[in-house]
């Protein structure tokens, strides 16, 4: 063949290439956080779940409004309250070609509950997972659980054969001494496959042509880079080097919005930010009041609540990007929350309450606060310090990085706090989680109830209702129970809910995305124009 022939062929190819519209696009995405491991069972964290949700899938998924929808399970029913039957989707293949069957579900159920997994609570430890046939699996429980599958959208199914062949049948614990295969390689059933993964540097996904669903995206490739520095991440979006960033710092929102090629997509997040008070110790650890605990007096708690000007925090600190909340759970997760309203901001009333409680001149207390965990966390605490100063309470603020903060305030640190700020997203996306973990009594050391109830609020009546909520399968009745529970907590001034912070994603104008309130950035719903 002559040189000319080659040349001709090349030219005609080039013409074809330029005339065919290129619809498959490359998405370039930057997030503040890393994708540390590809093992779907090692880290229980939103960003990681979102990334791995491109590669792996669960039996169920959550749609654009967070409703539970079928995924690898086509349908399910509960023939008895303690037995759930899942019918698996047929003709689904893993990315290496292995067929997806009930064995993979049983295997993944064991793996997610194994030592070293960070997602052990996805399935109750005493639940039995039984293969009925190749495409039917039963989950047999010891007690009824209406929200069994509420977190299964991020319980990802792995290929048993692949895991066994690669010695990856157990999630890699942090104490491992050998590198884990599953943390550098992935083999799921999802819309994208891992092409390359350098932890903390760059991960490239390419489209899975054999995906069982019809894709809504038009991407052929996703290039993910973690960019930890806020200014650099925003600059990368403004210069067009990346198509989407998460998050946009609040102070940069107006600049991104005024740029010609990008905008900020804002929306409510389901994380609730709140203040808690130590009401269990007989004497506060960090206060000038000795021999008694002011927070044990319900009037002091009420005074603190009423001294907080939540609108000021919203307008000044959060620049409008927050939704003040009367409850410890976001309205998206508990629709009847609209029946609750925050008590009015009332500094004079608060002052009177403090006087009535025997603290006419206020008192001193130390407040624990993270400074790198939630949106403007330290600034919110600063504002709270100022507001409480108006009713005579002198708050010494201890704002620390999350590594030190959590080490001090959580259970392993001995709940060493008198007054603190915390944020919470119920992992199950359900109120029971908040009623159990945050608001339940922690007096039984054997029970996990109230483990994140750092202030030790305790009301047995409330706990009884929480237990009924777990068992109740009728939604309307359940909502009524939850309401009764939250009313008790409000009457007790158990916590001071502040707000749900807003999501802020920076998105190129070329890109259409779906923003879900759980802050998962999900490329499989993105469409990019040229």
């Amino acid at each position: 063949m002559s040189v000319r022939h080659h040349l001709l062929a090349a030219i005609s190819l080039a013409i074809v290439a330029t005339t065919t519209p290129v619809s498959a696009q490359t998405l370039r995405y930057a997030n503040q956080g890393d994708l540390k491991s590809l093992d779907p069972h090692t880290l229980n964290e939103t960003t990681t779940h979102a990334h791995l949700g491109q590669v792996y899938e669960g039996l169920t998924a959550r749609d654009k409004d967070l409703k539970i929808i079928p995924a690898l399970a086509e349908s399910w029913e509960t023939p008895e309250p303690t037995r759930w039957r899942f019918h698996l989707r047929k003709n689904v293949k893993f990315q290496n070609g292995d067929p997806f069957t009930a064995d993979d579900v049983v295997f993944s159920a064991d793996r997610v509950r194994a030592k070293g997994s960070n997602l052990q609570t996805r399935i109750p430890a005493d639940a039995k997972v039984v293969k009925v046939d190749d495409y039917t699996v039963d989950f047999i429980l010891t007690s009824p659980n209406p929200i069994l599958n509420s977190q299964w959208d991020t319980w990802y199914i792995m290929d048993k054969k692949w895991a066994e062949a690669n010695n990856a049948t157990q999630p890699t614990p942090a104490s491992a001494t050998t590198p884990s295969f599953a943390s550098l390689n992935a083999n799921g059933t999802g819309p994208f496959m891992i092409e390359s993964h350098q932890p903390g540097v760059k991960t490239v996904f390419k489209v899975n042509p054999n995906w069982w669903q019809k894709p809504e995206h038009n991407l052929k490739e996703i290039v993910f880079t973690p960019i930890a520095s806020d200014a650099t991440r925003v600059a990368a979006l403004l210069s067009g080097e990346v198509d989407i960033i998460e998050p946009v710092p609040i102070q940069d929102i107006s600049r991104v919005d005024s740029s010609p090629n990008a905008q900020v997509l804002k929306g409510p997040e389901i994380r609730t930010i709140f203040l808690g008070m130590d009401q269990s110790r007989d004497e506060l650890l960090y206060s000038n009041i000795k021999g008694k605990n002011p927070f044990k007096d319900v009037r002091v708690r009420e005074a603190f609540y009423k001294a907080i000007d939540i609108e000021l925090i919203k307008n000044r600190v959060m620049r409008g990007l927050s939704t003040p909340s009367a409850l410890m759970v976001a309205p998206q997760l508990y629709p009847p929350s609209k029946d609750f309203t925050r008590p009015k901001f009332d500094p004079d009333g608060a002052k009177k309450l403090l006087t009535a409680a025997g603290y006419p001149d206020g008192f001193e207390v130390t407040m624990d606060c993270p400074n790198d965990r939630y949106v403007n966390d330290a600034a919110i605490c600063q504002a709270v310090v100022g507001m409480l100063a108006r009713i005579g309470v002198k708050v010494n603020l201890l704002a620390q990085p999350k590594a030190q903060y959590f080490a001090k305030i959580l259970k392993p640190g001995g709940y060493q706090t008198s007054f603190y700020m915390l944020g919470w997203t119920p992992g199950t996306l359900d109120s029971h989680n908040v009623m159990y973990d945050i608001m339940g009594c922690r007096d039984d050391p054997k029970s996990a109830r109230g483990e994140t109830n750092l202030g030790g609020y305790c009301n047995k009546e409330f706990d009884d209702i929480a237990d009924k909520v777990l068992q109740e399968t009728d939604t309307a009745k359940r909502d009524q129970l939850i309401k009764a529970g939250f009313e008790i907590a409000m009457k007790d001034w158990a916590y001071i809910p502040l707000h749900q912070q807003a999501l802020a994603w920076g998105v190129s104008k070329k890109l259409k995305v779906v923003q879900r309130p759980d802050n998962q950035v999900l490329p499989y719903w993105m469409v990019k124009s040229e």
Binding site: S37, N118, Q120, A176, P199, G200, A228, A231, L410
Partner: protein
């Protein structure tokens, strides 16, 4: 001479051990690694299991002994965050940091010497004054600010250079290089300037001062009297004699360029060891922190050792005092 080298080597090992002890003492204040490994809603019992499996519940002395024995055998363990061996992670990140440090040093040397010479020879021109002004900026502005300013000017406003990362890389064995691709070279420009600006300023001021000094000496005056060309006097005689201290300083500064790359790497999301160290601190990833600190101290100690030995070779007077200690 051999005794001197040995003595210095023993001292170097002492320094390494001291760094190891200080580093280990500091880890205790970095926070709780377990709360970074598990999510916040992890039951306390499970947290304790993780703590136990990492040996974090042992007495401090036992933990230190274990850490020390492993470090002495160059076993740095597995990163808590990535579940990968620390040595692999560091080896992956080493080329990025070294390339950046070398480019920054070359930039600093070339521009520092040129500007220094010019500022010394044409002291009163506008350009010389401008050089002085630039050197003031280089000394007084913090690195991260320079980096962000460069990003906003050249990446966001002008769109000439990338704002983050290393660009496309070529893999040669285990080494990855950005020097062989256009995007890789473009990605190197801003981080190198940011990292090298301080050293450049230093070198420029040093060269200028030395040059002015040398130009006043007798042998320059004699050279002029002999009727040599100005060029030969300035570059053949004066500059050559200026360069000895400059090379010494640049060599010693190379260690701090590597250590200071932490900030530059964070600003430009440069995938080097410094960036990994910062993230390790935030996540209390003790194996990475320990290995990085030991490595940086090794680099410093080695450079100092080499410089000490070179001095004795270069300067016979030192050799005399070394072999006959007073």
């Amino acid at each position: 001479m051999l005794a001197f080298t040995l003595r210095r080597a023993v001292q170097a090992i002492g320094v390494m051990i001291a760094v190891g002890i200080i580093a280990f003492a500091m880890f205790r204040f970095a926070g709780d690694p377990v709360s970074q490994i598990v999510s916040i809603d992890t039951p306390a019992a499970e947290r304790e299991a993780v703590r136990k499996s990492l040996g974090l519940d042992d007495p401090v002395l036992i933990q230190f002994a274990r850490y020390f024995v492993n470090a002495a055998q160059f076993k740095f363990g597995v990163s808590y965050q990535f579940r990968q061996p620390v040595s692999t992670l560091l080896a992956e990140r080493l080329p990025a940091t070294l390339e950046l440090a070398i480019c920054a040093t070359i930039f600093a040397m070339v521009f520092g010497i040129l500007m220094g010479v010019y500022a010394a020879l044409r002291r009163d021109t506008l350009l010389a004054k401008l050089c002085q002004a630039v050197s003031l900026i280089g000394i007084s502005l913090p690195t991260f600010l320079i980096g962000i300013l460069l990003i906003y000017l050249f990446a966001v406003t002008l769109g000439w250079l990338p704002s983050f990362g290393r660009g496309e890389m070529v893999r040669i064995g285990w080494w990855t290089t950005g020097l062989l691709t256009v995007s890789g070279l473009k990605a190197l420009i801003m981080p190198s300037i940011t990292l090298g600006l301080f050293q450049m300023t230093l070198i420029m001021r040093l060269v200028r001062a030395e040059m002015l000094e040398v130009l006043r000496t007798d042998y320059i005056r004699f050279a002029r009297a002999r009727g040599l060309t100005t060029r030969a006097i300035h570059f053949g005689h004066a500059l050559k004699n200026t360069l000895v201290p400059v090379i010494t300083v640049a060599g010693l500064q190379f260690g701090s360029v590597i250590a200071f790359s932490i900030i530059t790497e964070s600003v430009f999301q440069w995938p080097g060891m410094g960036l990994m160290f910062v993230q390790a601190v935030q996540n209390v990833d003790i194996p990475i922190m320990a290995a990085y600190l030991l490595m940086v101290s090794l680099i410093f100690v080695t450079i100092n050792l080499v410089v000490d030995i070179l001095y004795t070779i270069v300067d016979p007077r030192l050799r005399a005092t070394v072999s006959r200690p007073a």
